[in-house]
């Protein structure tokens, strides 16, 4: 870890011992969230999400492909995350790091588990299905990539154009319909520092976090969870955080819908 982040983290700990958080933020309050839809017209769908100084971009592409052997009647969903070296002095060029793989897989599971996109509807004909690519680009890192990337992926899927299938190929020009989405899933990530739990940890808070948990849910049920780092949560804590995640997800769903109509 960069020495400055460590020192900043110590300050976070010092504040938390006094029961406060930087900028007077409530423990269960998000930083300012901004969602921008369809900013890359070449991509079938796109969205940028900013949570405080964290900034991520998701681009969606759809290609004609052959189905996976074990799922001949379903389209493919491929989610990848790039922690771009321009996003942080700590990100290096090179093959995907374990952090970027975890990030992509957590977002992927949220989308899959929520049936937000019906992969069966991406079947075209025998041996031909659509591959749905969700590419996550992290542009500036300041903590809580999970929620930012989940929001950006869901927002981008919600504005995705559906190419047409003609003579074995994808046609991306002319009148196009939309990719049908059935659900909205969002996630809430909490960090535990000592015995304090915080929603939406920023970079300095993550630097000193002992444990982290991401809870993804739709209106009715939890769709996926991921606990990270070396610390632990109690059952009571997890139950409490699930309740908070359901509460907060109303705000997040509202943001996705209102940003879309802008």
């Amino acid at each position: 870890m960069h020495p400055l982040n460590q020192v900043k983290g110590e300050y976070v700990r010092e504040l938390l011992n006094k029961g406060v958080r930087e900028e007077g933020r409530d423990p269960f309050e998000y930083r300012q969230i901004k969602i921008t839809h369809s900013l890359l017209p070449n991509a079938e769908g796109s969205a940028q999400v900013e949570i405080g100084n964290t900034r991520v971009l998701v681009g969606i592409k759809l290609d004609v492909a052959t189905p996976m052997p074990d799922k001949p009647n379903e389209g493919n969903l491929m989610t990848m995350a790039e922690l771009l070296p321009l996003a942080s002095p700590e990100y290096e060029p090179g093959p995907p790091s374990p952090d970027s793989i975890e990030l992509a897989r957590v977002v992927d599971r949220g989308i899959r588990a929520s049936s937000m996109v019906d992969l069966g509807s991406l079947f075209i004909e025998e041996e031909k299905v659509w591959s749905l690519f969700v590419d996550i680009y992290v542009l500036n890192f300041d903590g809580n990539l999970f929620d930012a990337c989940m929001l950006a992926a869901v927002a981008a899927l919600s504005n995705t154009r559906m190419p047409k299938y003609e003579n074995g190929e994808a046609v991306r020009t002319g009148e196009l319909g939309r990719l049908k989405t059935n659900n909205i899933v969002t996630s809430c990530t909490f960090a535990k520092v000592g015995n304090k739990i915080l929603l939406d940890p920023d970079g300095s808070e993550e630097a000193v976090a002992d444990a982290r948990i991401t809870i993804a849910n739709d209106e009715k049920v939890v769709r996926s969870m991921q606990k990270g780092l070396a610390g632990a949560f109690s059952q009571e804590e997890v139950e409490d955080l699930i309740g908070r995640s359901f509460d907060k997800s109303k705000e997040l769903r509202g943001l996705i819908l209102s940003s879309k109509s802008e």
Binding site: L39, L40, P41, N42, A43, E44, S46, N53, R55, L57, G59, I60, K61, D63, M80, E82, L84, P85, L86, A87, S88, P89, P93, S131, F133, D135, Y137, L139, N140, F141, D142, A170, R172, T173
Partner: protein, 247 residues
């Protein structure tokens, strides 16, 4: 460059398909700064291209064997997002094209950065093409120059780049993707405007000696507006505050 036999007409009634004249550039917008963690950054829209550039450093060059005891080493990475084109998904990771573009881009900046000021250190330049429509290397160099200036790294010049192409016997500037696919020549150029130094020159296709010199002249002339835009982008954040307080 396309060798396709069913090549579309790229010039109709003396105009290009998007309505531009031969020496017209596409609309451009440059924003200096924007990425909080980087030492310097810039964002550019050049036609439908959308490019982000960031600079990190100077910092200690690592691994140590890459250090030059007399001057800073420049490391440059150009890459295209997998969702950047209107066509199919590009699987990410540096391909041979991206590696070559990174190299020639690096060489442009090795010329203008005062590298002797930072012996033993490295300066990283990252160029991410978020959306592509022809001429991304030119847009990348133009954007990276602004990003470097916002980092405060001293430079002898502020380079820009532009591409020249040929359709039939007609030279055209700033090819978009459709033109690039079917043109008869493509010649990207980077220029240091202080002395009009040519800092990058690549070419493929077919051009006569006369066409090359005409192309270079066209690029330099049109490049004045690119350089002006870079300058305005760098000054804008400062002038906005002067304006705010009417100073």
């Amino acid at each position: 460059m396309g060798s396709s036999t069913n090549k579309p007409e790229l010039i109709v009634n003396g105009k290009r398909l998007d309505g531009r004249g031969f020496a017209d550039l596409r609309p451009m917008k440059i924003i200096a700064g924007g990425l909080k963690n980087a030492a310097g950054s810039a964002y550019m829209e050049w036609g439908n291209n959308k490019v982000l550039a960031a600079v990190y450093g100077p910092k200690e060059a690592l691994p140590k064997h890459t250090q030059d005891p007399d001057k800073a080493v420049i490391k440059c990475k150009y890459s295209m997002a997998p969702f950047s084109s209107l066509e199919e998904h590009n699987r990410s990771g540096p391909n041979r094209r991206a590696i070559e573009i990174s190299k020639v881009t690096r060489e442009v900046f090795e010329k203008v950065i005062l590298r002797e000021d930072f012996p033993g250190s490295e300066i990283d330049i990252f160029i991410e093409v978020l959306q592509s429509d022809g001429g991304t290397r030119a847009a990348g160099i133009t954007t990276a120059a602004v990003a470097l200036a916002t980092s405060g790294i001293p430079m002898t010049d502020l380079p820009y780049a532009i591409s020249v192409g040929k359709v039939g016997d007609t030279l055209i500037l700033d090819l978009n993707k459709a033109e690039d696919n079917y043109s008869d020549a493509d010649m990207p150029i980077a220029i240091g405007p202080r002395n009009n130094d040519i800092l990058l020159l690549q070419m493929d296709g077919s051009l006569t000696k006369e066409q090359i010199s005409e192309g270079l002249t066209m690029a330099k002339k049109a490049g004045e507006s690119v350089a002006r835009l870079q300058r305005e982008a760098l000054k804008a954040p400062y002038e906005r505050i002067l304006e705010k307080y009417k100073i």
